[in-house]
Symmetry: C3
Subunit: 333 residues, 3 copies
């Protein structure tokens, strides 16, 4: 939108690695919008075939499309391999992630032993504990509370009212959405015969580089060792990660997933919303689990669904039968 | 409880649109309580037949009941069409919603370009960003963080430690319970072949008039267009609303519901707790979905339940059979 | 770790009520760690048989084990009845729960009528309302907001950014993890024919002694009477407790459980993650409910699982059959 980010169609094509078809290479693009709302100075894209009908009526200045959709467009198009990725690259151009500029609000309470890198932003009413380290250009939003000995890397974005408990370790470019809680106590009690004895949770939370954590998501500290979220993992809102869980690199989980203690999820997994994982189990790398599934035991490579989780294809057949059970039982009789 | 709200039985009957039977019209009522706990100066009500037995023993000064329950009462009664609504109207009389009186705490940090209407309350340690507008008599609780360009209507109540991210638009009489997050980034990434590229989320959240949002509920901003919660929608605690979702007017959802991106829910829907909706689907107006259901595709008018969601009647029959499956299989053998 | 907590093996055995076998009673133990990570000055333990193979390779100074595991160890062992409890007792020795020391941060906003006991810690940017009482040695973390008339007992630990709404009553030794919300409005509306009328929620939340509440968990205030969590109950993260729920003493619930309004859970129940309870139902004392179950009606004594919840043994048989349904149907044809 701001004109200093303006691109020509030729520049857009180069940025997204695509081929411009039927458009003026010098025409100007100033932003991205949906097919329905884009104007002649905006790019749009078709990634989900559900919206194909809008190709006919869009006023977009250019449309990012895959090879096979390109013919039906009456507007200029840029043919790309992955329209959604092309859209993402363009959005990143027009809306680069914010960076800290060194503004520390005078209401922030910083412990004298806390070390801020250069150009760190610290919002109003932030509380930063002893021996905290924060890397260059990171942004700490208003109302954030950072405990003793926390380490935050560079280019991190911590949204408002996040809590990062003592000892948590965050890599570079970590993003925490508002209200997330990092390093809450794991849920560990021993029964004495009369009461549940709280077991002090002395491990930490480690979030490696490029992790993003959704709003109001909670990640418990380890009971003894650490809870580890490996590089590039993306967690949606309201997810619960138990103590000593390990999530492999680049795994991605939709909202309201719950992972019980000491479970390990392999790298590159994809987990739908509201899935639950039992404790002390292993999920192989690359596993996909459909929304609402309940995973009670180890999973080898594959795609799973259901309660209890089973191979996805089997689940689809089971679902079809379940709905016909009343009819089947009648026929049997 | 405070005597300036005191009513006579006759006034109570008028307020709730009911008919007083067997009671002194001049007797005084000073509050509302449960059948079990109400004293002679309090009104009570019977809305759930589970509590009918308490009619015999209650000491309430008057009981709000439906026509058919009126006979069994030994205490004065007011016959009404909907005892629960009558109870609600009476509670609103004795406990009107609070209104701002113009108290701005001296620890609140208000940007110089923020505009407060008349009689706005702003609690301690609040942070209000640039170009924010807040309407008359609204109450901003302690620790609330309000981002750039947020608009809040009149008579709103924002509880403690809520976060309202940049650009969110709230109508009049909106209530946000504590810890709610409005305008967190939607969960949007494109896979580059090496990593999940975060796609900047540049849409907004729009909460229309009379929306209420529960504690720790999260509503993500749109990816491009807006996430919209229409007038009179009530959302319970710990609900997750994905980017570009639209919820139709006066729909009501119990806690821990999750709605994936770009799904639209019609007006006047009722959704039970822990229900999940897939993305990019349409739910017709007036649909009812039972608790814990999983909705994976479009729903026409009706009542649904189950995973995957099916007509509620079918689900009830399926449930009955599922529990008899071991026995049925045995019989078959 | 700090040497003033150092113990000899003999002292460890006495503390956990176990019998030292094959170890120097005067050897020093300075902490506890996992079998994999423990060094010669640390104790470890075996509570979960999944980790038995690590007994052979651990370098731990002593291992807390049950009678039947004791033989296979090559390191000194202390035989105990319950290794997990022994581990817990030892962790409590090395890491006692923190106690307030009387530090009140100068940015905290305390109403003039609030009464703090001796040695209460109050963190930065805390807000404490009128007529609040806080008992001796309690710790109020940074950013916590405490409403009008709240009572907090002694030795409580309230983590950062918790919100405790007006009138909530907390016993002694209550622990609230970060972001928890106590006393949000219950979800109560009456339909007027045109809109959902919000019913003022005038009850309170009562958390009795030794209750622990997880991060971002929400407990709604009662509509009229109170929502009560009895002594020694432990609630994990992101749990939702509706208005007028009552949870019996020493019950324990894993994360993301939801309990609808007016339901009562007996004492000593154990509830797995993501379980949902309908409203107005009764669950007997000592009931166990497996993760992800949906409880729609009263439960007598027993162990339950499934949607809808059924006896756990039946559920296991049902699960086995469900996965074989496609095959069974084929055979039938």
């Amino acid at each position: 939108m701001s004109s200093d980010h303006e691109l020509t169609l030729a520049e857009v094509a180069r940025l997204v690695g695509g081929e411009l078809v039927d458009g003026d290479p010098e025409a100007s693009i100033q932003g991205v919008n949906t097919l329905a709302d884009a104007g002649p100075c905006e790019a749009s894209f078709l990634a989900n075939p559900k919206y194909r009908s809008e190709l006919a009526t869009t006023r977009a200045g250019v449309i990012l499309v895959s090879q096979r959709e390109a013919e039906v467009c009456t507007r200029p198009v840029i043919k790309v391999q992955d329209p959604y990725l092309a859209f993402g690259l363009l959005q990143r151009h027009f809306h680069p992630l914010p960076k800290g500029r060194g503004h520390v609000h005078n209401t922030a309470v910083l412990h004298e032993t806390a070390k801020l890198g250069s150009h760190v932003d610290v919002g109003a009413h932030v509380v930063i504990g002893p021996e905290v380290e924060i890397g260059d250009h990171s942004i700490i939003g208003p109302g954030v509370v950072i405990g003793h000995g926390v380490r935050i890397g560079r280019d991190c974005i911590i949204h408002a009212n996040v809590v990062i408990e003592d000892g948590s370790q965050l890599g570079d470019r970590v993003i925490l959405q508002a209200g997330a809680v990092i390093g809450s106590d794991g849920f560990g009690y021993a029964w004495t015969g009369r009461e549940h004895l709280k077991i002090p949770q002395t491990g930490r939370v480690v979030l490696q580089d490029d992790v993003e954590v959704g709003a109001n998501t909670c990640i418990d500290r380890g009971a003894l060792g650490d809870t580890v979220v490996e590089a590039g993992v993306k967690l949606d809102n309201q997810i619960q990660i138990g103590h000593n869980v390990r999530i492999g690199a680049r795994s991605i989980m939709a909202s309201q997933v719950g992972i019980s203690g000491s479970t390990t999820i392999g790298a590159g997994c994809q987990v739908g919303g509201q899935v639950g994982f039992a404790g002390h189990i292993h999920v192989a790398p690359g596993v996909r689990v459909a929304a609402k599934s309940g995973v009670a035991s180890d999973l080898g490579p594959g795609t799973y669904a259901g309660i209890p989780a089973m191979p996805h294809r089997l689940w689809l057949r089971v679902c079809a039968i379940i709905q016909r059970l009343p009819e089947l039982v009648k026929q049997l009789r």
